[in-house]
């Protein structure tokens, strides 16, 4: 009987690496991404809000936008909503400004903005999400602006650096207030 030949080990390592790379490429870490929203509680105490403080957005059955009674394209909405939210020029048609006692900053002028979003019954879900997305970017740029003005850093920067205290201040200065009314016919 011949002694058994020891087989070559080099290729085995290659196979191991191939397997490793194959699995690394094919396994994806499951993550759910989307727009997070919080619904208002059931017993909604909708007090009277002054008309100038509300940005009324209507989406009709054909997915067209009407912002404060004027038709508007979706692309123009983020910029318009951002100026509405901040009301830096203190326009009389834009929300009232008030002094709010904020941590770190003390009394600061912030606007009493509210955004009201109303759909028709046959508005498509896609365009609704599109508007929600546009409003999210409006709030984001408004917060970036506010943050740069008061902390010399953008809000995105603060989020990235996990500066929780300052993030909270900016969030309470410009809270995301999107109220949704029942769909109209």
């Amino acid at each position: 009987m011949r002694p058994t030949q020891p087989n070559n080990a080099g290729s085995m390592a290659d196979i191991a690496f191939l397997l490793l790379i194959f699995f690394l490429v094919t396994t994806t870490i499951e993550s759910e991404s989307g727009l997070m929203r919080k619904l208002p509680p059931d017993e909604d105490s909708s007090g009277e809000i002054k008309r100038r403080n509300v940005l009324n957005i209507l989406i009709n059955n054909d997915d067209q936008l009407m912002v404060n009674l004027k038709p508007m394209e979706i692309d123009a909405l983020p910029a318009y909503a951002a100026t509405f939210i901040q009301n830096k020029e203190e326009k009389s048609t834009f929300p009232e400004m008030e002094l709010k006692d904020l941590e770190l900053l003390g009394e600061t002028m912030v606007s009493k903005q509210v955004i009201s979003l109303q759909c028709a019954t046959h508005t498509s879900y896609g365009s609704y999400v599109g508007v929600q997305d546009a409003l999210a970017s409006a709030y984001r740029s408004a917060r970036n602006d506010f943050s740069e003005q008061h902390f010399n850093r953008s809000f995105d920067d603060l989020l990235e650096a996990k500066a929780i205290e300052r993030v909270k201040v900016v969030q309470s200065a410009i809270p995301m207030r999107i109220s949704e009314a029942e769909p109209f016919k």
């Binding site: 619904l39 989406i59 046959h122």
Partner: protein
Amino acid sequence: MKFKTKRKKSLPEISTSSLPDIIFILLFFFMVTMVIKDDQSKFQVDRPTAVQIEKMKHLDLSATIWVGYDEGQSIPLIQFDKRLIQVDEVAGLIAEKRATLPESSAPLFTTIIKADRELPMYLITDIKQELRSINALKIQYSIQEES
């Protein structure tokens, strides 16, 4: 002239017997860590796209509702936990699902709405009203990730 017979110097062989073991360990590791997706919908759902998206942190504290159309049909379907349901069942089923979680994590409970972009809003509003009625207020509008 004398020729020296060249003998191949043989290196000591590396033992290969442990390599298959390494492969198996790797294989088992990946098999264990891989998550098998089982939340597929029974129908086609063409989700909308968005830019200002957030990643969800507590996937284990969530429930998914699929809303979409069967192929070529115009009647919207709602799916929860592998079966088709009616709108008025949403509150009960979500409450049931939330009850399985520890009470302390209930406020973190999120309902993921995976809905088709063509759906009419009244249906989404009805689902949201159902969720409000049981105080399950955190929702996520799931979007299509561009790959």
